[in-house]
């Protein structure tokens, strides 16, 4: 439990933890943005930064260090996040997915069902990471190939010539191969997650998940190799349109996640804000349960300002479920009284000016490093 006034830096700590898995973390911040936030007195100077964590999982303890190193800080926005596991530099962020899973809910996600599809797609893919560590690598390769191809097609259009066909074909091959793997992994997740979500968890609503995506739907009636050829052919025939659109008009990067509140029989977007939040909690808990049953390890749960938007019964049910899962959950809140049902089962840290100023247990010192 991290408590403290608004702006004290509670979410910064959750953000640091969210960087232990691939991606841009729970604020979707660029690496240089994080530098600027740390050193706000000198915004033009991009400073290196790092998150260091010691984790314990089934196979024992290990250490993760990740951040922007000196070379990265010098290269500015082109920098890639450095990842070290037990001191060894990993070849990419995907290595993190082999070791750690984390799921988060933030106040911003209240609009997940009503905002554009990209947030829902990322949410869906994070649910997949917890079961399929290779998913993160596939997505970054697919997105890279899509961006490369968009540039290739745009450059050709600007020069009023056709794009080099061998080059475009090479990129489309990568997109088809990875794109179909992404779609198949999403379908597989839903096949397994839907029964768990349909059951509902205590007072949290039962939910039904479906993917609205072209490639995902092709997989319903054809084997993956055939879908790959079909997607490859679709890409090859839509080069002009894709060039004009700045990216492929069809593909798993355009898919959407459709969520239904089963009790009400309504799309989640049409439910009240409170119910939408409860549906999200329901999906995250079902996913954590499924992973625990599957791998024996529970994802880290990062729950930002979660208690404020749940009623008393749901708060207690959430805490009970976290206990039952044996999950390590990091929760923030301004009002410590809302967490009273946790009693002595939780460690409480008070945060002010981005520092821990009070802790209910001695191990609080383990957190000091995260801020210094």
């Amino acid at each position: 439990m991290l408590t403290g006034p608004n702006g004290a830096g509670k979410t910064n700590l959750l953000e640091a933890l969210s960087l232990l898995v691939p991606g841009r973390g729970l604020r979707r911040a660029r690496l240089t943005e994080i530098s600027r936030r740390i050193a706000s007195d000198d915004p033009d100077h991009v400073r290196p930064w790092a998150v260091a964590a010691r984790l314990e999982a089934g196979e024992g303890a290990f250490e993760i260090g990740t951040g922007l190193d000196a070379d990265g800080a010098a290269s500015g926005d082109a920098a890639r996040r450095t990842v070290r596991i037990d001191g060894e530099t990993a070849r990419g962020q995907s290595a993190l997915a082999d070791r750690v899973a984390a799921l988060w809910l933030t106040p911003d996600m209240q609009r997940l069902f009503t905002d554009g599809s990209s947030g829902r797609r990322r949410f869906l893919d994070r649910l997949v990471y917890a079961f399929d560590p290779a998913h993160a690598g596939r997505i970054s390769a697919y997105e890279r190939a899509n961006r490369e191809r968009a540039r290739l097609l745009r450059d050709a259009a600007e020069a009023r010539r056709a794009a080099d066909p061998a080059w475009a074909t090479a990129l489309e091959d990568t997109m088809a191969e990875r794109g179909v793997a992404i779609a198949a992994a999403r379908n597989e997740l839903l096949r397994r997650l839907n029964p768990a979500c349909a059951a509902g968890i205590g007072p949290f609503p039962a939910a039904g998940l479906a993917i609205d995506g072209t490639v995902e739907s092709w997989l319903d009636d054809a084997p993956a190799v055939e879908v790959e050829d079909r997607f490859r052919a679709a890409l090859a025939s839509s080069r002009a349109a894709d060039g004009a659109a700045g990216g492929a008009v069809t593909g798993p990067h355009r898919s959407d996640l459709a969520v239904t509140h089963l009790g009400r029989g309504l799309p989640a977007a049409q439910c009240s804000t409170g119910e939408q939040k409860a549906v999200l909690v329901s999906i995250v808990l079902a996913n954590a349960r499924l992973r625990a049953a599957d791998t024996g390890s529970v994802p880290l749960l990062l729950l930002d300002e979660i208690a404020a938007h749940l009623d008393g019964a749901r708060r207690e049910a959430l805490f009970a479920e976290i206990r039952a899962l044996g999950a390590q959950a990091w929760m923030t809140g301004t009002d410590v009284a809302l967490f009273a049902p946790l009693g002595n089962d939780a460690a409480y840290f008070t945060i002010e000016d981005a520092r821990i100023v009070g802790a209910s247990i001695e191990t609080g010192t383990m957190l000091q490093g995260a801020f210094s």
């Binding site: 010098a74 070849r91 995907s94 690598g137 390769a141 191809r149 540039r151 080059w167 074909t169 990568t174």
Partner: protein, 197 residues
């Protein structure tokens, strides 16, 4: 405030991969303190290297002779050409001593985002070499990154017209793995298990 010569040395060192401004200052001081034993020999080695090193006009390797020692080595099979991205990859393969053919260094990967097209890589010279009937197999050893795979695919497409057999290194290699970072055993295994494309 360091003098101009020292400042210049630090600035140049800071451009080396892996050295930030702080480590560049440390390296500069280290060199200056060892003027006789390190700084002067290094200066001479750098100047001799700048003078003597040539890019092989056949394969793109770096050597003091042109063509390079590998291209002129009679014991190496002229029928096998292994295509790599960078000279560092050629060195990595040579360390394993598992490959007895010759090389072709592309000089990078295709990247539309970075403005590197086929004309910026040594692809035309490779097509020229592949057209020689003495060449029986071209092995693509580009990395498993998106750019490496795209480049390998592109090269295979361009070589299709030559009728030469094109194979790909079986990457028992994580995605994003590049040859220079792999251990020798992994590379020789990947070389043995190459497959036709």
């Amino acid at each position: 405030m360091p003098g101009t010569e020292i400042e210049r040395l630090i600035q140049l060192l800071a451009r080396l991969p892996g050295l930030g401004p702080r480590s560049a200052r440390r390296a500069a001081l280290h060199l200056i303190k060892r003027r006789e034993s390190l700084l002067q020999p290094l200066a001479e080695a750098l100047s001799a290297a700048a003078e003597a090193i040539r890019v092989c006009p056949v394969c793109g390797n770096l050597d003091v002779t042109a063509p390079c020692a590998i291209c002129t080595d009679e014991r190496r099979d002229p029928g096998l050409i292994c295509v790599v991205e960078e000279v560092a990859d050629l060195w990595a393969l040579e360390r394993t001593a598992a490959f007895a053919g010759r090389y072709h260094v592309l000089g990078g990967t295709l990247s539309a985002l970075d403005g590197r097209g086929p004309e910026d890589l040594n692809i035309d010279t490779l097509a020229g070499r592949a057209a020689d009937p003495a060449v029986t197999e071209i092995i693509l050893a580009t990395s498993a990154t998106v750019e490496g795979q795209t480049t390998g695919h592109y090269v295979a497409e361009r070589l299709a017209a030559c009728g030469v057999t094109v194979t790909r290194l079986a990457h028992g290699v994580p995605v994003g793995g590049e040859l220079d970072y792999l251990d020798d055993g992994t590379i020789s295994a990947a070389l043995k298990a190459r497959r036709s494309i």
